[in-house]
Structures are given as structure tokens and as C-alpha cells.
């Protein structure tokens, strides 16, 4: 119970950032970069093992943007010039220019590489069809819905290939899902195409946005687990769940990924105990709020260490106290 994991991305070490810049300038070959990506992946798998993370990720050292990565590896997408997302930050927003196809698996090779490095389960990491659609321009499909369902079908093939390769956990991230509450049904339908028939434990991660607009429909998301940010909303979300039955497992973001500060394990343990007054411990997975790629390597390690340490403390009090322990936990809030 209370398995620890991370949401997906982990920071790239400086040597990898420099290498990626060199490749862009044509000063380094793709093969040389690949070697460094493997080195960084090896390091992150080892670090997660040493920290005691239960469900490991490959850290996405070979991905840039979570949507652009898939757009670059699927047919039917073109790359755009820069578009601003906020402040002085820009990105290349993919353009759907033709029929969306998948000529070969996109993530399976990296998943297999990472799983080969550890006995712990490695989570397969996909970007969801609704998010890929919403974060792309669409010139080829008549409607947003048509584009979304076309993407769903290729992501489904990818999920099946991951499962065939041995993935026990498959996460399909949908951070855009709360953007347009009126399209929530479309997002659910598309995610259903991806997860239908999978035996792996399926997860979706949702962040940013008007949670209350979509909250009532969370139960209908066709996945086993929903992973949410709790820390950066001061665990206010708990009150939302306290009042309702929730049939799914929950991924509990317990450390904020937008701050440099490493949270104190005692404080996080206390928040986790508070969460266990709402969720049953066997239905709870513990992780940071979101991908850690925007933090420094040291900050990311510090935050993951806090996740593991806080979870250990709560597990210890749960198993020491049995039912009594749970009462103590409730009392601590």
C-alpha cells in the first residue's frame, strides 16, 4: 500500500541540455546524443531505486515537450515556428496537416531499455489524445472531435505495444482535460479508446485548471487511477473528495513541483495522514504534484526523497498501529 512513484518527467542534467543544444546547432550527431540520453536514463533509474521509489519512470530524458515528442514521431504532424505560452517562454506547437498514423512504436524502445535496468516495474508514459489534439493546430480534420479520435486510435496502438512489452502500469497524461469542460465527454471517449481492453493498471494525470468544472465527471474517466496535484492547492482538493464516493485509486501529489524549496518529510507525512482520512491507504499512490522536469536535478532528488521518507513514516505508523494507527492518523489532523 501507499506505493511511491513520480508523474513522469525528471530534469535533464546539464550535459544533456548542452548536448541537445549542440544537436540543434548541428555540432553533435543524433547517435552521440542518444548515448548521453541512455546515460541520463541509467542514472535516473538508479537514483529512483536508491531512493526506494516503488514504481519507476524512465524520466523522459529523450523527450522535449510532452506533445511535440509524439507529434514528431507520428505521421500527419508538421512542426510550427515558435508560439509563446507565457512570459518569455515559447514552444513549437504541432500542426496536424494530414492523416494521423503510427508507422512504428514511439516509446516502447525506451521503456524496454529502462525496464532492463531494474527489477522494479517501470511505468509506460503516454500523452493523451485530448491533450495532443488541444495543444496542436488542426488543419486536416473537419472537427476537434475527429482529430481527437484519430489520435486516440494511434495512442491505443502504442499502449497495447507497451503492455505487450511487459508494462504493468500505463499512464496517459491529460493535463488539457480541464480546459474546456464542455468537451469532457469527448476526452473521456478518447481516453476510453486508449485504455479499452488493457490489463495493465491505467492512470491518468490531470493538472492546471478549473477542477470543479470537471470534478463530478472524474469517476467516469476510463482508467484505474487518477493522479492529481494536492500540494500546490494546500490539500484543498481533499474536501472535494471527502463528500463523495470515489471508486478509483488516487495518485496523490504531495510535493509542489513549482517551488525550489524541498518540503519537510514530517509536514508531508502529516498531509498524507490527512489524506488517509478521505482515501483508503491501499487505493493511494504517492508522488510529486506533476513532472519534475522544471526543477534542478538536486531539487528533484530532494523532493522525491521527501515523498519516499514521508510515505515510509506513514506506512510505519499504519502497520504498527493497525486500526488504532488509522485513528491516530485521523486524530493528527
Amino acid at each position: 500500500m501507499l506505493l511511491t512513484t513520480s508523474v513522469g518527467s525528471l530534469p535533464k542534467p546539464d550535459y544533456l541540455l548542452e548536448a541537445r543544444a549542440k544537436v540543434r546547432r548541428g555540432e553533435m550527431t543524433a547517435e552521440e546524443l542518444r548515448g548521453l540520453e541512455e546515460r541520463a536514463t541509467r542514472d535516473w533509474v538508479r537514483i529512483q531505486e536508491e531512493l526506494g521509489i516503488d514504481i519507476v519512470v524512465d524520466g523522459e530524458q529523450y523527450r522535449g515537450d510532452m506533445v511535440a515528442y509524439f507529434a514528431e514521431h507520428l505521421g500527419g504532424f508538421a512542426q510550427s515556428e515558435l508560439v509563446r505560452s507565457y512570459g518569455n517562454r515559447y514552444y513549437r506547437k504541432p500542426i496536424i496537416t494530414g492523416k494521423i498514423t503510427r508507422s512504428r512504436p514511439v516509446t516502447v524502445e525506451w521503456w524496454t531499455f529502462a525496464q532492463g535496468l531494474t527489477a522494479k516495474p517501470v511505468k509506460g508514459m503516454l500523452t493523451g489524445p485530448y491533450t495532443i489534439m488541444d495543444w496542436s493546430f488542426n488543419e486536416a480534420y473537419p472537427t476537434r472531435r475527429a482529430a481527437c479520435l484519430a489520435i486516440a486510435r494511434v495512442i491505443r496502438d502504442e499502449a497495447r505495444d507497451l503492455e505487450r512489452a511487459g508494462a504493468q502500469y500505463i499512464q496517459v497524461d491529460e493535463p488539457a482535460i480541464s480546459t474546456r469542460p464542455e468537451e469532457m465527454d469527448l476526452a473521456i471517449e478518447a481516453l476510453g479508446i486508449v485504455t479499452r481492453g488493457l490489463k495493465a493498471h491505467t492512470i491518468t494525470h490531470i493538472c492546471y485548471g478549473d477542477f470543479h468544472a470537471i470534478g463530478r465527471k472524474l469517476d467516469r474517466l476510463p482508467v484505474d487511477q487518477i493522479d492529481l496535484e494536492f500540494a500546490n492547492r494546500d490539500f484543498e482538493l481533499l474536501e472535494f473528495f471527502r463528500r463523495r464516493r470515489f471508486a478509483k485509486a488516487v495518485g496523490l501529489g504531495v510535493v509542489d513541483v513549482h517551488t525550489h524549496r524541498i518540503e519537510d518529510a514530517d509536514q508531508v507525512a502529516q498531509n498524507l495522514r490527512k489524506a488517509l482520512t478521505v482515501f483508503r491507504p491501499e487505493r493511494v499512490y504517492v508522488d510529486p504534484d506533476c513532472g519534475l522536469k522544471t526543477r534542478s536535478v538536486e531539487e528533484a532528488i530532494g523532493k522525491l526523497r521527501t515523498v519516499v521518507e514521508a510515505t515510509r513514516r506513514v506506512r510505519a505508523s499504519l502497520s504498527a498501529g493497525g486500526r488504532r494507527g488509522r485513528k491516530v492518523a485521523a486524530g493528527a489532523t
Binding site: 509563446r84 493546430f137 488542426n138
Partner: protein
Amino acid sequence: MITTVIGSYPKVAKDTYSTKLIGTIARWQRGEATGEQMESVARDITNAVIAEQEAAGIELVTDGQIRWEDLVTPFAGKLDGIEINGLTRWFNNNVYYRRPVVRGEPTRRGPVLVEALRFAKSCTERPVKAVLPGPYTFATVSEDRHFRSPRRFVRRMAELLNEEAQALAAAGAAMVQFDEPAIGFGKTDMKLAAEGLAIAAQGVKAKTAVATYFGSLNGLFDALMRTPVDVVGIDVVSDPTSLRSLSRARITKELGIGCVDGRNTKLETVTQLHAVFNALRRRVPLDRVYVSPNCGLEFLPHPQALAKLRRLGEAAASYRATRSANR
């Protein structure tokens, strides 16, 4: 029919002006470039952006909002009583803005956007439109820890925006436009929005306009027609039915018609745009219409933004030519 833009324009363009702004701002933030260096780059880009609008056939231009982080920060950041907080999603876009938080009585120390307007005017002979956030939208996207009353917040913002609008008009803005994407996006307190616009537009010695986008004016159009602004702008891309519903409306003002999709790269055809103009012509004299993209062009990469502006200019020119030939 006058061609115009809503406001923003891509800040970087590999193919024409430059991507220099990104690096310059980054160096300025690290203290490695001076404010003047950054301003000088931004002015060069503003100049280029205005020239691109002119060449594309845009008659009422804006400065492209090259120094704007988002719709609210430039104005909010210069007021006392307001601090700029964390990133929040900008309506239903994968674009973020910094949320203003009102902690004390907002006060305006002096003109905020007047210098930028003067510079834009120095770049062109054409009339220049100044853009401000509308009071209702400003309040909607902010966090109020001071007034604890939407109405008091909207009214106070409207007063401050009115001071700025008057200053912009005095400095030679041909039009002052209040952007109100919050009108028609989700539940709208139209009475309050109208009250805010009335205060904001009062006594402004230039044409005033309200621009709405991202949502639907279904049911709100008549109320906007009763506000004391000269031009009511609607987004007929986000809500294609709004063009048809104009036939039932009483149109007592000039209209702004956002008819080119500023959020998708797919390029409209001249035929499509002519169809919009034809539909309009049946409802309102075309000399009372401004045509533009449905929202700022910054959601698009530069090549597509420019292509869309050119297409709008081209469609308007050919439409006028056929109309006068048929006369």
C-alpha cells in the same frame, strides 16, 4: 468596411523581423542587458509589425503589444494596490497569464500605455487603435482580496481604465478598445459588465470599442448594444451561429466582426471571407463594419499570422472592388 486587428501580434518571427526579443529579455532579466537595449529591440519589432500590418492592407493598426506579457499585466503591474501572482490558464487556451491580486485600493500613478501609443503613431500614417483590458474581464481574471465585492472592483477598475482611455485619446488614439473576453465566456454578469463599460468609455474623446472573443454573445448582444461604446466586436469564429443571430438583433452601433481564426493555422479562403461579408451586408451597411481576426494573432506562429492578415486584406480589397464594379 475597415480592416483591423484585435491587438496582439507574434513577438518573434524567424522569417521576417527576428527572434532577438527572446534572448534580449532573458539577458535583461539576468541583468546582462539594460532596459534601453531591451526597449530598443522591442521598438524595432513594433515598427516591423506595424509595417507588416500596413503592407497586408490593415487600415486601423495596433502596436502588436510586443511588450505585453498578457492582457492584464501591463496595466495591472503599474497600479498601486495590485500585485501580479502565479500563472493561470488564459481562458480555454494553452497560454498562461499572471493573475493580478488586489490587496489594496488600486490607484493609477500616471499614464501607463501612452508612451507606447506615441511610438506606434510615429511608425505610421495610419490611424492607431489603443487596447485596454475591459473592466469586467480584468476583475474576472483577477483575485480580489480588497473589495470583496465584484461590483465595487469592476467599478473601480472602470474608473482607472477610463482615466487611461482619456489619456490615450488625448495622445491621438483613433480608437480605444476594451477587450472583454469574459463577456460571453461562461456565466456572464452582463449588467455588471455593461456598468463597467459605461464608466470606462465615458467622456473618452475618441471612438470606443468593446472586443469580445473566445465565447458566444448569444443572449448578450442586445445588452452590449445598449452600452455607450461606439463599436461592438463579436467573434464569429468561436461561435459561428452568432453571424446568423445578428439577423434577429437590433444593430444600432458599428460592428467589429472577428472572422479570421486567430487560434488555428488553417488559412481561410477568400471565398469563405466573402461569404461572411455577404452575410453581413444583408444585416448592416458595410461602412459600419470593421473586419478583423477573431482575437489577437499571438496564438499563431508568425508565418501563419502574417498569411492570415494578408488574406484578410486581400479578401476585403477584392470584395470592395467587385462591389464598386457592380454598382
